[in-house]
Symmetry: C2
Subunit: 268 residues, 2 copies
Amino acid sequence: MPIAVPVGSPKIDKMDSLPITKVNNQVEETSKVLGAGGKELPAPYKSTGNEALDTLAFLHLLEQLKVQKRSGWIREGVKEAESISDHMCRMALMAMMIPQDPSRPLDIPRCVMMALVHDLAEAHVGDITPVEGVPAHVKHQLEEQAMDSFLNEMLGGEGNKDARERFRSLWDEYEARETPESKLVKDLDRVELALQAVEYERSQDIRTLSPFFVGSIPNLEHPVVQKWAETLMEERRQLWASRGREQEEQDGLGGAKVGDKTKKVNGV
Amino acid sequence: MPIAVPVGSPKIDKMDSLPITKVNNQVEETSKVLGAGGKELPAPYKSTGNEALDTLAFLHLLEQLKVQKRSGWIREGVKEAESISDHMCRMALMAMMIPQDPSRPLDIPRCVMMALVHDLAEAHVGDITPVEGVPAHVKHQLEEQAMDSFLNEMLGGEGNKDARERFRSLWDEYEARETPESKLVKDLDRVELALQAVEYERSQDIRTLSPFFVGSIPNLEHPVVQKWAETLMEERRQLWASRGREQEEQDGLGGAKVGDKTKKVNGV
C-alpha cells in the first residue's frame, strides 16, 4: 500500500509517523504520493487477474526507463540528456569489463543483472536526485513500494515466479549493499556518472558539474574502477586546461580525489 | 583493417572483390567507409600503446550507444526516438523474465549479457536497418571490423584479456545464431521492437509501422515470447479499433501472425 504524503505537509522525520490515509484501498484525493521532482505519482498497479495482461503491463512499464531522463543532467541544462536505461546499460557493459581476480572473486553475470535492476523502481517513482530534499528513507520506501507493485501485481502469477524471485533477490541485495557484487555495482553507478559528466562537459561545455565528481569519485572502492576514474580525471584536467580553465577545475573539485574516502577507511 | 568502399562504386556482390586501398595504414582520402544512413565512418581506433588510455577510449565509445537513436523510428517520424542502449536494456531485462524450463534449459545470465553486446558494433557503424539496401554480408563485415577494432585496439592489453574474450565470445555466438541462448536473444530483439512499435503507435499515433510487425512476430520461436507477442498484438488490435481503424490494422499485417514462420517449419 502506498504511504500517502499530504501535499504541503511539514517535513516528516520518522516514517512511522506519516499519516496513512486510505479509503476503500484508494488513496484519498487530498493526499498525493510525490516522486521525483515533486511529481505526483500515478496510483500503483493492481493485478487484473489475467497473468498475460499483467505481464504485458510490466513490459510496458519498462518503457518508462527509456522515457525518463536522468534528472540531474536536465537540472544542469544538459540537452538531450540520457535516459535511466542508457545509464544502466553502460553500467552493465562496464561490469563485463571487470577482470577475474582470484583475490577478489566476483559473480560478474550477477553484477550485470544487478546493474539492470538497481534503478528499476525509477520506472514508477522517477529519478530522485540527492539534492531534491527527499530523505533517503522516504526515497527507499517509495522505491520499495514500487518494486512490490511490480513484482506482486504485475509479475504476481505462477508463470512469473522465477522472474519475480530473480528481480526481488537482485534488488534486495543491491539495496543492502553488503556483498562484493552490490558494492561493485555501486562503484559502477558512480564511475558511469563521472564518465557521462566529462562527456557532457566536453560536448556541451557544461560547467556546473563539479558536485557530480565530488559526490562520486572519492567513494570508489574497486581498484580497477579506481584506475578508470583516475585516467578519466586526468582527461578532465586536460580538457579544462585546454579551455584555459584549469584552476577552475581544481577549485571545483576542492581536493576531491579518486578513492579518497575509501583509502582513509582502510588506513591508507 | 577496414575495407574501403570507394564512394559511388557499383554494388559489389562478393566481399573478396572489394578494392582494398591503404596507404601507410591509412585509408586513402578518396575512399570512404559508409555506415548507417550512408554516413561516413571515422577511421577505426588504433591503440595508443597505453592500456589505461585505450580502456578509457572504449568507455567513451560506449556513449555512442546512448547517442545513436534507433534509425527505423526516426525514418518513420517518431519524435524522441529511443537509443540503441535503451533497446538493449529492455531486451536484457526481458531475458531476466524468462522462466526456467527443464525441457528448454537456458543460461539466462548469458542471454542477458548477449543482449547487451549484440548491437555493440553499432557504436561505430551506426544502426543499419534492413531497408537501407546494405547487403547483409557487408553489414556483417563492417560490424566485424568494428568489433575487431574495439577488442584488439581498445581492449587489447593484458589487463583487458577477460573482457576481450567475454565480448568476443558473446558476439560470435550471437552472430552464429546456433545456440538456444542466441536464438532467444534474437527473439527478444524482435519482440522488443514490436513492443516499442505499439508504444509509439499509442503515444504518437504513428501509422506506418506495420512492416515492423510483419518482419518480426512471425519469426518468434520461444513459446513464452510468442505468448507475450500474442497478448501485445491483441492490445494493438484493440488500440486501432478504438481509433476506428481496425480494418487498416488487419490490412497492414496482411495475415502475419505470431510464430507463423516457425510453426510452419515445425510442421505445426
